[in-house]
């Protein structure tokens, strides 16, 4: 790391760290949904990335609509887009659970294949509807520009917005899981499905809403993603592996673990990216994770679950 003064190094770390925080936000939003689904049902949703893309495309669609018909509404549309992305992705997830996944709970490996099939179909649908080129929605003015605490540090506003959004969603998920009666049902089902059924919890319904919620959060991740990068039909696949690693590394069914692991993975990746090439940063991060997981397969924070 020769050639940089301490001041510069500090600025680099701050800026790369913040770039890492944008990545962290998207990864965390994706992983939250995946972790809830995986933790509760043991289902690996390979189409999770595509549900994120659904959110992103919904945002794009709404922005085009607003731009054409209600230009005056442009500054505010994004907030609606987030909500809409949540509901569109959530509804699709609800449908996918009903049509596909509920038949396969006993065969987790087969769910993996079926959801991969689903992801192929969704990808092609995106390509047929929105075209193969990457699209990005017109962002409202208040998301552009950056904040400069010192001369050398330059923090983009959209990153801060995404971080705030992530914080809000994470808080919401925590509240839902640990304070609401629905969350109680979910946690009970996770811990012991049979007993939960015996005491009168409709576990099938819980499953379906959990899946829908997970997909909905992926939709929010997609809306947030549009502020950082442009969306293409295969955008989802790019993030799915990283997201899996976040979930597995954090320890399935542990939300705290998911946050910690999303943070460490995103930070490691983006700080390394500055010093070595992007691809090698990815190799190092993933390799380290694989090696750690070989020694500690249950992940960072393993919660005790009876299956």
């Amino acid at each position: 790391m020769g050639g940089y003064t301490y001041n510069e190094l500090g600025a680099i770390f701050a800026m790369q760290g913040f770039a890492g925080i944008s990545l962290f936000s998207v990864l965390l939003l994706m992983a939250l949904g995946l972790a809830i689904i995986f933790g509760q049902m043991g289902v690996i949703n390979m189409a999770h990335g595509e549900f994120m893309a659904v959110g992103a495309y919904t945002t794009y669609f709404l922005s085009t609509l607003t731009e054409t018909y209600f230009p005056g509404f442009m500054p505010y549309y994004f907030l609606f887009a987030i909500v809409l992305a949540f509901f569109v992705a959530g509804a699709l997830g609800y449908f996918a659970e009903y049509a596909l996944i509920r038949h396969l709970y006993k065969r987790p490996l087969d769910t993996l294949l079926a959801t991969w099939g689903l992801s192929l179909i969704m990808q092609q649908t995106f390509r047929s509807v929105f075209g193969a080129r990457e699209v990005s929605p017109g962002l409202p003015d208040w998301l552009l520009g950056s904040y400069q605490p010192t001369e050398m540090i330059d923090i983009p506003l959209n990153g801060m917005f995404v971080l705030a959004l992530t914080g809000l969603v994470t808080f919401g998920v925590f509240y839902l899981m640990f304070k609401s009666s629905w969350g109680l049902h979910v946690r009970a089902t996770t811990q012991n499905r049979l007993m939960s059924g015996a005491v009168g919890i409709n576990t099938k319904k819980v499953d379906r809403y959990t899946f829908a919620l997970g997909c909905g959060i992926a939709g929010i991740a997609g809306a947030a993603f549009t502020t950082i990068a442009s969306t293409g039909p295969t955008t989802g696949t790019l993030y799915i592996v990283d997201t899996f690693m976040v979930v597995v590394f954090g320890g399935a069914a542990s939300l705290l673990g998911t946050i910690a692991s999303a943070f460490s993975i995103a930070q490691a990746q983006s700080i390394l990216e500055f010093f070595i090439s992007g691809s090698m940063a990815k190799v190092f991060t993933l390799l380290t994770l694989v090696i750690i997981l070989m020694f500690k397969p249950e992940g960072l924070f393993a919660s005790k679950v009876r299956r």
């Binding site: 490996l109 099939g117 899996f244 690693m245 691809s279 090698m280 993933l286 994770l289």
Partner: protein, 382 residues
């Protein structure tokens, strides 16, 4: 003789299926197809190695590897490295700034051959490497995971991540690996031109015989006590463990064996197609190999070959004329196979095949026993 009949062929049904497959790929395809199409079929059949390996690992062993592309790629790259070194002799590469090293290294400002390329100038070493390196790699992954009782979806994800790591590494380290284009422009094998039609035909037959050999070897494993243990582990792992077997070692073995098989396929791929690239290593090819096995029937070695052929024929036919439709079809196939016929084509044949064979038999009976047939009609008339 009866040993060979029962253990290697799997009894009467197994023998019939095996012979039909052998006739199809050794006689029917070469007679019907021109040299270009035959080469294409040969390429598909190299994927069948990976599909067969997945039947062992996933169908019988119950461990799904989403990283068979890793081993396919390792085998393919080992072969490609040997061929590339031969193709870049100092005479052939005299125009480069450093003659005698592969062209892509020269483009990437490398001035000498990296150390791990050195041994691949020996053909014997390459052949050994194709068989040993993937197995060794699988041993490391397998022993790290199975000894700690990691299995199921975790194993699937970790193998997938390793496939991603390998792809990113190959693409990123352009100077050492040829990057995204892979290792191309391979010409000769020990001085023998591999791009000619006659060479391709010979490789096709070599490939077929290897594939049939692999099927026999796999069948031997499955009919042995080991095969029965494998099934037992898939269905009730704990019970096998409590009976005193070391479950992890059996899993490691089958994983290594599957890796070696896939690597043979990869090496044959390089020989027949003439290049190797990271697009045969990553997530997508690995998961496609799983669907080959799934469509053919995850419990049927021969079914896996048919599944591979069928999907690849379909892919070629569809993506030539309706590229958009193909992904829909492929996605639908994934879902349909998993939801409606989890045992694939082989399962369908088992469930409904007797309708066809029965008809054959009744036709045969008509000729063989005319007496009984006439008797039946007379009874009906009376």
């Amino acid at each position: 003789m009866s040993f060979a009949y029962d253990k290697l062929m799997g009894g009467k049904n197994g023998l019939t299926g095996f012979i039909i497959l052998a006739i199809l790929i050794l006689i029917v395809f070469p007679l019907l197809l021109d040299s270009f199409r035959l080469n294409l079929v040969g390429k598909y059949l190299t994927y069948a190695f990976a599909a067969v390996s997945l039947v062992l690992l996933w169908g019988y062993g119950g461990t799904l590897s989403l990283g068979q592309g890793i081993f396919f790629g390792l085998g393919g790259y080992a072969m490609a490295m040997f061929l590339k070194l031969e193709a870049s002799s100092p005479e052939n590469t005299a125009i480069q700034s450093t003659p005698g090293i592969p062209d892509f290294m020269d483009w990437n400002q490398l001035t000498e051959l990296p150390w791990f390329w050195e041994p691949f100038s020996s053909f014997t070493f390459t052949l050994v490497a194709i068989l040993v390196i993937p197995a060794l790699f699988a041993y490391i992954i397998g022993s790290a995971m199975f000894k700690r009782r990691v299995g199921g979806v975790y194993f699937a994800i970790i193998t997938q991540v390793i496939a991603v790591i390998l792809t990113v590494l190959i693409v990123g380290q352009q100077g050492f690996t040829g990057g995204i284009n892979g290792i191309t422009d391979l010409r000769t094998l020990n001085g023998w031109d591999i791009t000619s039609d006659s060479a391709k035909n010979i490789f096709y037959y070599v490939n077929c015989f290897l594939l049939l050999g692999v099927i026999i070897a796999s069948r031997y494993i499955l009919t042995s006590k080991f095969g029965r243990l494998l099934l037992a582990m898939r269905d009730k792992e704990d019970r096998v463990r409590f009976s005193g077997y070391d479950v992890a070692n059996f899993k490691i073995f089958i994983f290594c064996f599957a890796a070696t098989i896939s690597a043979i396929g990869g090496a044959m791929f390089t020989l027949q197609v003439g290049f190797m690239s990271p697009s045969f290593v990553g997530i997508v090819p690995s998961i496609e190999m799983v669907i080959f096995a799934a469509v053919g029937g995850r419990m049927s070695l021969i079914g896996a070959v048919y599944g591979t052929l069928l999907i690849n024929f379909g892919k070629t036919a569809f993506s030539e004329s309706f590229p958009e439709l193909w992904l829909f079809l492929m996605g639908g196939l994934f879902i349909a196979v998993v939801m409606f016929f989890p045992n694939g084509l082989a399962g369908l044949w088992q469930d409904y095949g007797h309708y066809i064979t029965d008809r054959f038999k009744s036709v045969k009976n008509l000729f063989v026993k005319p007496a009984s047939a006439t008797k039946a009609t007379t009874v009906e008339n009376s």
